[in-house]
């Protein structure tokens, strides 16, 4: 039987860039085919060609052995190809049914929308694939994971057989990822084929049947999870040997830099987000905060950096009480902050890199004298940091918005690390980054620790917390359930705590004795 999809020699060039260079790809029916590659490797271009958004310069596309010309998404949908974009294409004020119908409306009495018929079909699809979607819910009211399912329903509604999913896990929480994987397996059982685009190695190993690795617009290899390992895949993807393990020596904790006492913080809705939390961070150590997203991590970080007022309790930074201080005062004490949402909080995207690099020091010497900015010094500083922190940009005056995610994060790291700092809050420092950038940021964090900085690492990626931390505090509903030594903590134990279960001493012993397993993402 012919493969359900075959691409032969697809080539596409943009001015100055060969995005796809004679790419061959074969997808069998009922297969989860992972397309793995760094950001900018050409994955998305290839899929946009397949979906008819771009026309290839060369190459042929076969669907079920039939050669097809796909000139527009309409052709692609006709051929049974559907795409879930990384950024959802949904109308928030419409219901699920209305969104799904959009472009393929059911009508009755000539021209009246038949929402009932469409809703029934959505219901049927939802049952078949265990999607648990309410057709009458408004898209703006449902969580991101559900919104993604609406995108999937849109494709199933149009009877797509080949589903392209572009970085589907980028916006999901770990739980939602798990649910998505279940849904993907159900779809495979129903005879669909899936192309799964990603740069996350762990996911590929977990879900793929076939793996095609793309680098620099070329296919550099095809393999399966059984024949390959994380390190092999990483090296293939990046094009050099990558060390996924974080090299670090034993920590040498010094004096207490940050002391949090009975802290209580409300979230913007007025609910208690941090509930009587107390902990210390010492110089020269990384304290990791593990926990499922939404258990108070965001509020904790905002309270520590002066962005959210504490309603009770104290925060001491280097012995000074800072819970009532402004963000600037806290920064001036020697605190640095890598915010969880780099585009929202960390950068002014419209500003050049140089200005972003002085975002919290612009008013100090040497970047300004009295009220006058010293543009020369700011530019010089920008050039140096771009060089030292390996920020890939055509020029230091390029706007931050035109950089890739990894390079945007490097701008923030460069800004925060170029000041003399004694305390660092790193919140989700590698979210959405490619392997190369993750490796880089991890190295820098450990380097800062070794310089004697106290580091508070907040991450929902358990693997990251386990790799980098010296001690791990597990938060659940705004409380720290336990603080564990990273050397002896196991994934199982942390997992229990993350779910809010405090194990007995006996269980702890049992879990602790198991060999430490670290799975990488």
């Amino acid at each position: 039987m012919a493969p359900v999809l075959e691409l032969r020699g697809i080539t596409k060039s943009f001015p100055g860039v060969l995005a796809n260079d004679h790419i061959d790809l074969m997808v069998e029916k009922g297969e989860i085919h992972a397309l793995l590659g760094e950001n900018g490797a050409g994955k998305t271009t290839l899929m946009n060609i397949l979906y008819g958004l771009y026309n290839p310069d060369e190459g042929e596309i076969f669907v079920n052995g039939q050669k097809l010309e796909i000139k527009s998404p309409v052709d692609a949908i006709k051929a049974g190809i559907g795409m879930v974009h990384q950024h959802f294409m949904l109308v928030p004020v419409f219901t699920v049914t209305e969104n799904v119908m959009l472009g393929e409306e059911y009508v009755k009495y000539g021209d009246v929308l038949d929402r009932k018929k469409a809703a029934d079909k959505i219901h049927e699809i939802s049952n078949t694939y265990k999607l648990e979607i309410d057709p009458d819910a408004y898209v703006s009211d449902i969580p991101v994971g559900m919104q993604q399912r609406v995108e999937i329903i849109k494709l199933l509604f149009r009877e797509a057989d080949i589903l392209i999913m572009d970085e589907p896990t980028a916006v999901l929480t770990p739980q939602e990822v798990e649910e998505l994987f279940k849904i993907i397996h159900t779809m495979i059982d129903q005879g669909k084929s899936i192309i799964f685009i990603t740069h996350k190695l762990g996911e590929v190993m977990e879900i793929a049947d076939q793996i095609t690795v793309i680098r620099g617009g070329k296919v550099v290899g095809s393999t399966t999870p059984h024949e390959s390992s994380l390190n092999d895949l990483a090296s293939m993807m990046v094009g050099r040997d990558v060390n996924l393990e974080v090299d670090k020596t034993e920590s040498k904790p010094g004096e207490v830099v940050l002391e949090v006492k009975d802290l209580k913080v409300l979230d913007p809705q007025g609910h208690v987000a941090i509930d009587n939390m107390s902990f210390n961070v010492h110089s020269g150590e990384v304290l990791g905060i593990a926990g499922v997203q939404g258990n108070g991590q965001t509020e904790l970080v905002r309270a520590l950096t002066g962005l959210l007022p504490a309603i009770d309790g104290e925060i001491y930074l280097l012995g000074k009480e800072i819970s009532k201080n402004s963000p600037r005062k806290i920064t001036e004490l020697g605190s640095a902050h890598i915010p969880e949402d780099r585009q929202k909080d960390g950068l002014v995207l419209a500003f050049p890199i140089t200005d972003n690099l002085v975002l919290n020091t612009y008013y100090l010497e040497p970047f300004s004298k009295s009220i006058w900015l010293d543009q020369k010094k700011i530019l010089q500083n920008g050039k140096e940091l771009v060089e030292n922190f390996d920020i890939r940009t055509p020029s230091p005056t390029t706007s931050a918005g035109s950089l890739s995610g990894g390079n945007q994060q490097k701008v923030i790291v460069a800004r925060e690390f170029s000041r003399p700092i004694k305390f660092l809050v790193a919140s989700q420092p590698t979210r959405g980054l490619d392997v190369g950038s993750i490796e880089y940021i991890h190295k820098r964090l450990i380097q800062k620790r070794d310089d004697g900085c106290a580091v508070l690492l907040v991450s929902t990626e358990l693997d990251e917390v386990m790799q980098l931390s010296d001690r791990i505090a597990v938060v659940y509903r705004g409380r720290i359930l336990d603080v564990l030594d990273a050397n002896t903590a196991t994934k199982e134990l942390i997992g229990l705590l993350m779910a809010g279960i405090i194990p007995t001493e006996e269980e702890k012993q049992k879990l602790g004795s198991k060999q430490k397993q670290i799975r990488l993402t």
Binding site: P327, R328, K344, L349, A350, L373
Partner: protein, 411 residues
């Protein structure tokens, strides 16, 4: 990567690449397209063109082009001057004739002056993420306070009286900008709503002032007394040329606004707050402070526009003296990409168009409204650059166009 690719190309093609992606070309083409469309509109609203089309198609087309051409010629002579008349005047050597011949140009500058002040006011607000719709009201208040200082403060020499009167104008506008700024900072009240309401208060307040406390008792209709000669902004030529010092004050303010926005730490703070208030908070910038300061300064600039009119042109305050300068300012600040230099250029464009429109109406009978339509069309193209890019097949910009981002609109 981009860099190395680019250096291999010919410099000229690189230049064209960059240029065709930039906003400036879009603006130039938008103005050009607006003028072409305006010409079409003029032709279609002229009866003679229809008559000519009845004769033959080519006749009609010829008449249409001629009509549009004549309209723009009279727009040009009305706003810049008639070259023949100017050269004749210089040949005759009669000073009055020369002044009359070159007057259109200077009158256009006079028209542009309040636009510069108003445009700077809007631009400054935009940069700080604030949409100051209240420029019109601030102009009225600034005119009232300015004119009061002009006639009520006596015994001052000109070199003190003029700056004091201008300052009073700025102060009046500043108060009118400060209130919405403070309300926004303290209560989150949206500045668009508040400034619109402040406009109505300003209009009615000035009406009342003109009827009662500030009314010239010797006049029958509501007018203020004439300002003292020491408060008059000096004019550089004799009648009929009204070109006065205000224009240069406006340009000076543009320079100051430029320095403030781009060369000082305060400007850095304002722009950061305007572009990304979250990042501003993260960086330790006081957003409330920046909001209040920006609205106050914006109001002060608008107030100077009002003072400029009473001190430089009218010498007294009359009801409804501003014909929508404040609202045009919003448009031209956008046209000028909220950059002080852009504001000056677009103010000149608006000033010349407005001034030329009058003589256009007199000379060829085209209604003055055609200029409003022209402005509207140009602005529509600026606001929707995709249209211009499609018409002229320009490249997409490399990254998203940084149109003014208004934080307050998002919520």
């Amino acid at each position: 990567m981009d860099k190395s690719e680019n250096t291999q190309k010919k410099p000229l093609s690189v230049f064209w690449d960059e240029f065709s992606r930039s906003n400036i070309l879009v603006i130039i083409l938008a103005v050009f397209t607006g003028i072409v469309l305006g010409g079409v509109l003029v032709a279609f609203t002229t009866n003679e063109v229809y008559d000519a089309f009845r004769v033959s198609f080519w006749n009609g087309l010829g008449t249409a082009i001629r009509t549009a051409w004549n309209t723009y010629v009279s727009l040009f002579t009305g706003s810049v001057g008639d070259p023949q008349r100017i050269s004749r005047a210089f040949e005759s050597g009669d000073p009055l004739a020369i002044r009359r011949a070159i007057n259109p140009f200077f009158e256009s500058l006079v028209q542009s002056t309040p636009y510069i002040f108003g445009g700077l006011a809007v631009a400054l607000g935009f940069r700080a993420g604030l949409f100051n719709i209240g420029v019109e009201g601030q102009i009225f208040i600034g005119a009232a306070t300015g004119v009061w200082a002009g006639y009520a403060l006596t015994g001052l020499p000109a070199f003190i009286h003029i700056p004091v009167a201008m300052l009073f104008g700025a102060l009046g506008g500043a108060i009118w900008g400060f209130v919405p700024g403070l309300l926004k900072a303290k209560t989150g009240a949206h500045e668009v709503i508040v400034t619109i309401m402040m406009n109505y208060i300003a209009f009615r307040l000035v009406d009342w002032l003109l009827k009662f406390p500030m009314k010239d008792p010797t006049e029958f209709t509501p007018k203020t007394p004439w300002i003292l000669s020491t408060a008059q902004l000096p004019r550089f030529f004799d009648t009929p040329i009204r070109f006065h010092l205000g224009f240069f004050i406006a340009v000076l303010m543009a320079v100051l606004v430029y320095l403030l926005l781009f060369k000082t730490t305060w400007g850095f703070e304002l722009r950061t707050v305007g572009s990304n208030p979250n990042a501003a908070r993260y960086a330790g910038i006081k957003i409330t402070m920046a909001t209040v300061v920006a609205m106050t300064l914006s109001g002060a600039l608008a107030g100077m526009a009002g003072a400029n009119e009473v001190l430089g042109v009218n010498y007294r305050l009359l009801p409804a003296f501003s014909s929508g300068y404040g609202f045009d300012s919003i448009a031209l600040a956008l046209l000028g990409k909220t950059h002080p230099l852009g504001v000056i250029l677009s103010s000149l464009l608006f000033g010349f168009l407005r001034n030329g429109a009058r003589s256009m109406q007199l000379a060829v009978g085209v209604p003055i409204d055609i200029v409003s339509i022209l402005q509207a069309v140009i602005l529509a193209f600026i606001a929707a650059p995709a249209i211009i890019r499609t018409i002229y097949r320009l490249r997409e910009p490399k990254h998203k166009e940084d149109l003014v981002t208004l934080g307050s609109w998002k919520g």
